[in-house]
Amino acid sequence: MITALLQGPPKSAVPLYVVGVYLLLLLGFSVLNSRRARASAGEYFVASRSIGPFLLLMSVFGTTMTAFALVGSTGKAFDSGIGVYGLMASASGIIHSLVFFLVGIRLWAIGKRFNYVTQIQFFRGRFQSDLLGYLLFPVLVGLVIPYLLIGIVGAGSVVKGISGVPTWATGLVVCGVVLAYILTGGVRAAALANAVQTIVFMAVGVLAFVLISGSLGGVEQATQNVVDNAPQLLAREGTIGHLQFLTYCFVPLSVGMFPHLFQHWLTARSAKTFRTTVIAHPVFIMIVWVPCVLIGVWAAGAGVEAPGGNSNAVLAKMVGMQLKNPWISGLLMAGILAAIMSSLDSQFVCLGTIFTHDIVVHLTGDRFDDAQRVRLGRFFIVAIVAVTYLLSLAPPPNVFDLAVWCFSGFASLFPLVVAAVYWRRATAAGAVACVLVAGGTWAALFYDGLLAPTLAGERIGEDYLIAGMMPVTVMIAASTTALVVVSLLTRPPSSATVGRFFDEAGPGRR
């Protein structure tokens, strides 16, 4: 029965129609909600700091769950088994909420009080350093681009696997749709679209889980296939090392430095708005990841082969088993695209925002009015999306691995944000040293661990480890050391700066 299902009937155009209708509905919904965004730059970039608890939860969750969570986790579970959940999902449930609580709320407060819109504005103000801003800009943009790439590549591999549409066409459509609603509505449009898309992809994820398990003869039979054919995937022994597991916990610290998440935090109406997000985030992660991990190991148990050894395609192949009903396939495809687009939109807006505020406005002062600033932001968004789209035409072989490298880069900058809100003695020179060392170690390890082997045509089967640990451990150790040592060796920040961010009632109070 499994063999017959895996072969499946000929591909139908119906799933594409379903996806097309979904994209049109999404566009219509976003355009209808974009009217307020035309009022001011404050509305376009931070939704007038008026987002409530439900929308904040949905937009933050939708933003953090991308192709990595769906396509990547399924593929990684297919390769490495159920331990993938402990590596990223349960760890993130603790660490993401910890960062939201200890860092996010403080950054929201500082952003509101001093009217900051971007991360770089905050760091410039906190460390009184223009250089730090100019240094952070290329680093943050350079790290967001691979993150965008993950989404576009993930979307392409899913749609190709289900409907046969070439990846370049899917990338073009996804970028076009997201651009259309972002360019009109800004961060509020992203938040509203995220809410809709998060509901869609969570509901569709549960549906996919039920249907796929049904097609394998039920959940018990699906797992029995794994017991019989790939039992090593039911535990961590032999697939994940102890130090590797422990040091993976550093990767989710990346949320503290995601510029798009920073922007979503600033949209919150009040600090209390964060409460729902802090509490519900771990459960939402579980709802998405448990089915994906099970589908990944079930695929291995059922004898599914990843086309060309590319585990990105495993989820699409499993969904393809439902091609008996093309309407359902279309719905599943729309749900997966919803998850991917709900991250792309925030990242697009964020890039436009930091370019406008941290480069253009910073250099030109009040030369541009609100409308011109919004236009400049849109122009930069289109340029970055074009570059990312071109990069996606030569996709990386494994979405999960690229994502972990990208997250590791952001995580290596986490000491900077912690020092900025909790350590009065942190200096501008220390912050600059932290960014330089983080960027340098990331680039060197990324080249050695992923880029060089990929360019040499080698298949990267296992995680790149240093003494059994994830490379992020070395990056964080190096950037923290640079920050602390250089800060202690340089003159402390002025009492005015410290007083501004660390007064007795302020967020930096210990």
Binding site: Y85, G93, R113, P231, L234, R275, R500
Partner: protein, 80 residues
């Protein structure tokens, strides 16, 4: 965090720390057993960590909320 944490607040943060430690469930490392007929025990345990995290964060939000941060943000920013 408030300078003086209540007993309930300390308990809530202790629960978060406990979950972080339990997350390293080395005793499940090579256990391939399946519960409820379909769920690998290692995955079930980690899913329970996720649920436990939601409970722990609920307690932190209720018992250790940084009220002073919100008050500071709402004050006029005469030094901004």
């Amino acid at each position: 965090m408030n300078r003086k944490l209540s007993g309930a607040g300390k308990f809530a943060w202790g629960l978060v720390a406990l979950l972080a430690v339990l997350h390293y469930d080395f005793w499940n490392w090579s256990d391939r057993s399946v519960v409820f007929g379909f769920l690998p025990v290692g995955l079930l345990f980690q899913a329970l960590i996720s649920l436990g995290a939601a409970v722990a964060w609920t307690l932190v939000v209720r018992c250790a909320w940084p009220t002073h941060v919100e008050e500071w943000a709402d004050r006029p920013a005469d030094d901004a």
